[in-house]
Amino acid sequence: MMHECDRVGDAIWEHARTGADLPADVSRHIGGCPECARLLSDARRILSLAEHAIPVPDAPDCRAEVMARISVAEPRRPVWAYACALLVVILIAGYALLREARPPGRIAQTNQPSPKVSPTEQPANPGFICVDPVPQRRTQCRPVTAQHHRPRVRHWVNPKLMVAGANTQQQSPVPRTPEDQPSMDRRPVAAVSVTWGAEPSESSSYAYTERDEATGETTTCRVEKSPGAVSIFMESKPSGQEPPSKGA
């Protein structure tokens, strides 16, 4: 009987709410069940009161406020767009970090600065040597000699690196100090980093030339490593003068 009361309960509430006709089986059950008859009476009473229990006041017009807020807060971009942007940022940052963290290997001049270089003239990073005073120039780099373990050579313009002018003489490859040439300006220069292989022979050398496509200026650089020292020779010549194919 209780199970039957549970079954018809919902129908009783719906009948009380809508006034729709009760199904015949529910009517028969209510006729023989005082509890369900009482439920019907209570439901009618409660729902008749409920119509007046919560009178809803006039709704305010919220259009102006809503439109003002959504004009400030545009619809959000899809999540995948943010994910793609984040991925790109992570890749760029990771690439930059890897470049920074890459083992420098054995940079030629790091521990063995050339004794010919004046201490006051030595660049901040001893692995660099000035190559050209023109920043950001386009060059063609062509190695001319490579002996034994070919070193890895990187060259780039480093505007922060300030040394004396690059018109170094072939026989005096080391830049002169400002005291030697007071008329020389300190200008931004390019730099070259030479990294030797893991097991270089006792004597190694490497040379290359680079040519500025814009000015035709040609620069030759040669690095020689001996057990006691590292020597770097370089020479820049204006257009029309070919540098020697080998270092001095």
Binding site: D6, G9, D10, W13, R17, T18, L39, S41, D42, A43, R45, I46, L47, L49, A50, H52, A53, I54, V56, P57, A59, P60, D61, C62, R63, E65, V66, M67, R69, I70, S71, A73, P75, R76, P78
Partner: protein, 185 residues
């Protein structure tokens, strides 16, 4: 043979939703105009407070605009809108007690019940206000707004069967708390 008014309204609403999803704010403005009264009524019946209901009304449409791309149109826009409103009301209830008359049932039962029907209405209002929010939502949606169980299930995020059984419990609680007033009849 004309199109029934409710169906026409639904079609207009769906068209406006499509335009609004493409970024048309004027279409969304019309949607707000169409649905703001029912959203406010729902919020007011659940919260029982005009100021809070107005806040929920406004927040519902702002949330709807922000999440319009997620609306898959497998349900009516009004159902989706009411679901947002119900969730906001329940969240508001959790954050702070918005019950207008949080009177324990024992105290309500001990109050004298006069012959004045207005007193019974006030008692019912207090009792509905004192019920747990998840029960009150069901009574509001079904017995005051006449929503179908399918709509209710969509709004509160449960199955139709679960909505039926929860409503049965809510009605039982309401009847039990109203018993002192009903026995006077």
């Amino acid at each position: 043979m004309g199109i029934p008014g409710e169906l026409l309204l639904t079609q207009v609403s769906e068209n406006l939703v499509g335009l609004a999803r493409a970024g048309d704010t004027s279409a969304f403005d019309r949607l707000v105009s169409m649905h703001q009264r029912e959203v406010y009524a729902l919020a007011y019946r659940i919260l029982g407070n005009a100021e809070d209901a107005a806040d929920i009304q406004q927040e519902t449409f702002v949330r709807a605009w922000r999440n319009l791309r997620r609306f898959r149109q497998d349900a009516a826009f009004s159902t989706w809108l009411h679901r947002i409103a119900v969730n906001l009301c329940l969240s508001a209830k959790r954050r702070k007690s918005l019950v207008q008359c949080d009177i324990p049932p024992e105290e309500l039962a001990s109050q004298s019940v006069g012959p004045n029907p207005g007193a019974d209405v006030a008692a019912l209002r207090r009792i509905i206000g004192s019920m747990p929010a998840h029960h009150r939502v069901l009574i509001v949606l079904r017995d005051l707004e006449g929503r179908s169980f399918e709509e209710i299930a969509g709004m509160i995020g449960c199955s139709v069967g679960s909505a039926r059984s929860r409503l049965c419990k809510a009605r039982g609680m309401l009847r039990e708390r109203m018993r002192p007033y009903l026995e006077e009849e």
